[in-house]
Point group: C2
Chain length 187, copies 2
DNA sequence: TTTATTTATTGACTGAAGTCAATGACGTTC
DNA sequence: GAACGTCATTGACTTCAGTCAATAAATAAA
C-alpha cells in the first residue's frame, strides 16, 4: 500500500490524516490471467492501481479486437470515459497475466474530492496528465506513419514488446499483424 | 463578460465574490483575421474565451500545414500541452477572422486554483472535459475511415463546413485536399 | 514426445490515399 | 472587364496497408 502513497505523492503532498482517509477507501483485489476488470456495456465504477501485473483495454469492432491501451505494474488505470461520465463503457479491460491491484470507487473518490481540497487538486492534476497522454497518442496517429509509431514504441517502451504478443501491439499501433510483421522486417 | 460567467457556471456554481475574483483577472483583446495568438516555440501563457470569432490550431511538418483543431464563438481554448507544462508549443494558433476574446493568464488561474477550492474544481472538470474531447477525436482516427470521419463531421458540426475552407477541413480529417474532394464526390 | 492450438511470417492480389500535374471556378484588385 | 491569386476538382500513376490464403514457428495440451 506504501507504493500507492508514493504514487499519489508524486502529484500532491498528503498529510497523515489525508492519507489515512485515502487508504481507508482502498480495496485489495487479485485478478487471474484473462480475467476482466470491465466489460463493454458496464459502467466503470472503480479506478485501480496496479501493484503487480498487466492489463489491456480493447474493444470489439465487427468481430475484431482493437487494442487501445496497456498498463503495467505501478500504473493507475480506469476507463475514464465511463468512469467520469458514469455511462456504459465501450471497452473490455482484461488482465494479461495474474495481477494484484488496489481499487477505489468513484463514490469514494468523489467524497475525497469534496472533503479535501488537496484531493480535488490531485483529481485535476490527474485529469491534466490524462489529457497530455491522450494528446501524445493522438499526435502519433496524426503525424507518424505506422513504421514511425513502431519505432517510437521501441524507444519509449521496449519492455512492452516483451510482455505483450505482437498481434496486440499491431492492433495498438493501428495496423494488421501482417503489416507489423513486414514493418519489423524492413528494419 | 456575462457570457464568460454563464460558461463557467456550466461547470461550477460561483458566488459573487468568487466571480469578482475571476472577472478581475480577465483581459479583453481583439484579433485581426490571420493574427496569431500563439507561435511554435512560444510558451502558451494564457487561455482564452471567444466572445466572437474563430481560431484554428496548426503545426508545420515538412513545409505542410497540419490543422488539428478549430474553435468558435462561445468556446474556450488554450494550447494545453504548452499551457499546462509551460513548455514551448508545437502549434500556431491563428484567428480565422477578426475575433474578440477574454484572456486569463496561467499565473492568475493558478492563483485562483489555490485560493478557491471551487476553481480548483473548475480546473479538474475542465481537464476531464479536455480528456474526453481528445479521447473522442482519437477514436475517430482509430475506428473510422476518412470517409466516416467526414460524414461524422457533417452531422455534428456542419456549421464548421461553412466557416472553414475545405483544404483546412481535409487537413483536420487527416487527408489531402484532393482526397477530401473525392470523398465528397462519392457521397 | 507427439499432437493441437495459437501466433508469426510470407506471398499474391486489391483498394484507397498520396503524388504530380493540369484545369476549372471563384473572388479580388487594378 | 481583364488579370491575378486562391481554392477546388479531375485524371494518371505510385505507394503502402489490407485481405486472403498458405506455411512456419512457438506454446500449450495430451
Amino acid at each position: 500500500m506504501q507504493e500507492v502513497r508514493t504514487f499519489v505523492e508524486k502529484f500532491v503532498k498528503t498529510s497523515d490524516e489525508e492519507w489515512a482517509a485515502f487508504r481507508n477507501k482502498l480495496q485489495f483485489k487479485e485478478f487471474d490471467k484473462d480475467e476482466l476488470f470491465l466489460k463493454e456495456g458496464e459502467v466503470c465504477k472503480h479506478a485501480l492501481f496496479i501493484t503487480e501485473g498487466a492489463f489491456r483495454f480493447y474493444k470489439i469492432v465487427d468481430g475484431n479486437e482493437l487494442v487501445t491501451a496497456f498498463f503495467f505494474t505501478g500504473d493507475y488505470l480506469s476507463d475514464y470515459q465511463s468512469f467520469l461520465t458514469q455511462s456504459p463503457s465501450n471497452y473490455y479491460v482484461q488482465a494479461l497475466r495474474s495481477s494484484k491491484v488496489y481499487l477505489i470507487s468513484k463514490k469514494d473518490l468523489t467524497e475525497l474530492y469534496n472533503n479535501y481540497p488537496n484531493f480535488e487538486k490531485l483529481g485535476r492534476l490527474f485529469a491534466e496528465r490524462l489529457f497530455l497522454t491522450m494528446n501524445r497518442r493522438l499526435d502519433t496517429f496524426l503525424y507518424e506513419t505506422p513504421e514511425g509509431r513502431y519505432a517510437e514504441l521501441v524507444n519509449r517502451n521496449s519492455k512492452l514488446l516483451q510482455e505483450v504478443p505482437q498481434y496486440m501491439i499491431a492492433s495498438y499501433l493501428g495496423v494488421k499483424p501482417e503489416t507489423l510483421s513486414r514493418i519489423r522486417k524492413r528494419i
